[in-house]
Amino acid sequence: MAETSLPKRRTTEGPPRASGSAFLRLLRRSESARAYVMMSPTLLIMTLGIVVPFVILLVISLWTRAGFGFDTTPTLANYARSWNEPIYGTLLLRSFWISGVATAITVLLCYPMAYYVAFHVHRNKMMWIILMTLPFWTSYLLRVFAWKVILGYEGVINSGLMSAGLIEAPLSFLLYSPTAVIITLAHAWAAFAILPLYVSLEKIDRSLLEAATDLGDGPVARFFRVTLPLSMPGVIAASFLIFIPTTGDYITPALLGGPDGAMIGNLIQLQFGAVNNWPMGATLSIVLMLWIAALALVFLLVTRKVQGRIT
């Protein structure tokens, strides 16, 4: 060891002192300041992309259309219209109804699948997860279109059923209906349910299940008293991840919904497009967001209460 000597001891030249402006000194001393500097580009973009547009959206929603321009006198007229005219309420309700049903179906159908991979697949788990998520790496637009092919008048189901002689004429309720939208959404968003469900199930300590069995629970009681409550975070995350984006979905109702399956997203788009009533579009966007926030809150409170009851 003694003969191991470095060419130069680091401190023989004297420790370098922090120098520079007060700002640099602050950066060196304060972790918080350093962290904010590192996050500032992200925060700047998010502010520019979220806060500023939303403020403007809010401002515009208080304007009204006047000919080809806007009347900038602030008024709540658009909000009153969105409340009073049945078309807005109907579409909003239908959006929540369609998204809610699609979310429930997706979570219900994906839960056993996630459960299977978490508890019954022992080798190649990763392969199963890839298998389950791979379809979602294809174009959303074309996946929705594929359902149009399946559900269409000359589609897979109708032509299949007709050639089998089970039906005489094509089933018309399959395409251009809320049913079509719900089926397609449930399929298109399955990955967003499987992943959080799988993660929350995989995290459950197996000894807890053994403990429940040991304390006298059969498989069914064990599932409802241990597995389900412990996987609730995954159920909640999955529900949010599907319900919120789908309420504002545009493509699926536009391609498959028909007049009865149109959703609020289509109406918002119309205001910014053909109808050219931006203030109304802004109002509807804000109303949609407020409703989502309110529903999310109610959902959280209810699940918390239900969870408390089960356990």
């Binding site: 060891m1 191991t4 001891r9 401190t11 420790p15």
Partner: protein, 367 residues
């Protein structure tokens, strides 16, 4: 004090995280070449103090000097100290040789010289030829040695060790203790060693600082801490200790004694006892300072007690005796050289005599 006794000088250092005070007004000096341990339970501030020496935390108040240089404005990568981390922090994407040579980049050595230094280090830690091993092929003990080599190759003025043996199993830990001690002697670098294991601290250190609640309770040699702890907290943290409350009894200038619970009147010299008559005192006796006998000893101080329970510990046994006048039983440690007393094994409830000499009594600061 000579300058080499103040190689590391910690002056009135405090550290708080928000409302929580981790270190409160610590001042102490560590000498050059010393093996110095910071000993305390988790949360006592020992790791925070070590991290302040390394530069990962800066003191809220006070100053740390290393080799007479104030350290406040020196960032970790310019400090003349290196650290062995509790988790060892072996870089998983580098092999053993590159891990050891990590800090040499700035020294711009020729590749051959670099390789030679790494080999020397591998020899020093008794892992010759391990240079090309992957980091994830190593056992805990090997990781610990490589962390050591990686720090020592830079010839730091001070080596900081954060519980480096905590992750090892008992047998390996004891072996590494011996090796670490020998290595420190060999390289002559000042070691500052953090541990919560009192036996480890006693075995390894030249001096130990016992810490609790962000303060240093006592700095002393291992023997000093064990034999003459200053406070009840230090005494109970290191080894087992029996505590007795007592009162000073003085009769004139020459005669002094302590009337202690359960032990009766113990005569003391006036040099040992400076407090006035009637003053409350706290005294302590280590379990091995008592001797046990079936009959009352011929001379000396003794009380009779009853055996409550005993624990057989191999080379010695620990006995707990209840004595009149004291609520908690007294712990007594006796070697098992002749375990049978009076021809039979001791049984619970048996009456035994406890004896001790006044010199073995430790006077504690009343806290």
């Amino acid at each position: 004090m000579t300058p080499s006794d103040r190689f590391i000088s910690i002056r009135n250092v405090s550290k708080s995280f928000g409302a929580f005070t981790a270190i409160e007004e610590i001042s102490m000096d560590i000498g050059q070449g010393e093996f110095f341990s910071l000993l305390g339970a988790s949360g006592c501030g020992k790791t925070t103090l070590l991290r302040m020496l390394a530069g990962f935390e800066s003191p809220t108040k006070g100053e740390i000097f290393i080799d007479d240089q104030p350290m406040s404005d020196v960032p970790p990568h310019h400090r003349p100290v290196n650290m062995v981390f509790q988790s060892y922090a072996i870089f998983p994407h580098l092999n053993v040789g590159d891990n050891i040579a990590y800090g040499l980049r700035k020294h711009k050595l020729a590749a051959a010289r670099r390789a030679e230094m790494v080999e020397e280090m591998l020899d020093l830690i008794k892992l010759p030829g391990y240079g090309n091993r992957k980091a994830n092929e190593l056992s805990g003990g090997q990781r610990q040695r490589i962390a050591l080599a990686r720090a020592l190759i830079l010839r730091p003025k001070v080596l900081l060790l954060d519980e480096p043996l905590g992750a090892l199993d008992k047998q390996l830990r004891e072996q590494m203790q011996l090796e670490l001690r020998a290595l420190q002697r060999q390289v002559g670098i000042t070691f500052v060693f953090v541990t919560h294991d009192q036996e480890e601290a006693l075995t390894l250190s030249d001096r130990i600082a016992v810490m609790s609640g962000g303060k240093v309770l006592q700095v002393d040699t291992p023997a000093g801490l064990y034999e003459t702890p200053r406070t009840r907290a230090v005494a109970s943290f290191i080894g087992t200790m029996n505590f007795f409350r007592g009162t000073v009894r003085r009769n004139g200038a020459a005669m002094a004694a302590i009337e202690a619970e359960g032990l009766g009147t113990i005569p003391m010299t006036t040099a040992q006892l400076t407090k006035p008559d009637g003053a409350p005192v706290q005294i302590a006796l280590r379990p091995e300072k008592f001797s046990l006998s079936a009959k009352r000893p011929e001379a000396g101080l003794a009380v009779e007690g009853r055996l409550c329970t005993s624990a057989y510990m191999g080379e010695r046994s620990q006995y707990y005796l209840s004595i009149p006048g004291k609520a908690e039983p007294v712990a007594v440690s006796a070697p098992n050289t002749h375990r049978l007393m009076g021809g039979h094994d001791l049984s619970e409830g048996e009456a035994l005599w406890l004896s001790w000499s006044p010199e073995s009594i430790v006077m504690l600061d009343t806290d």
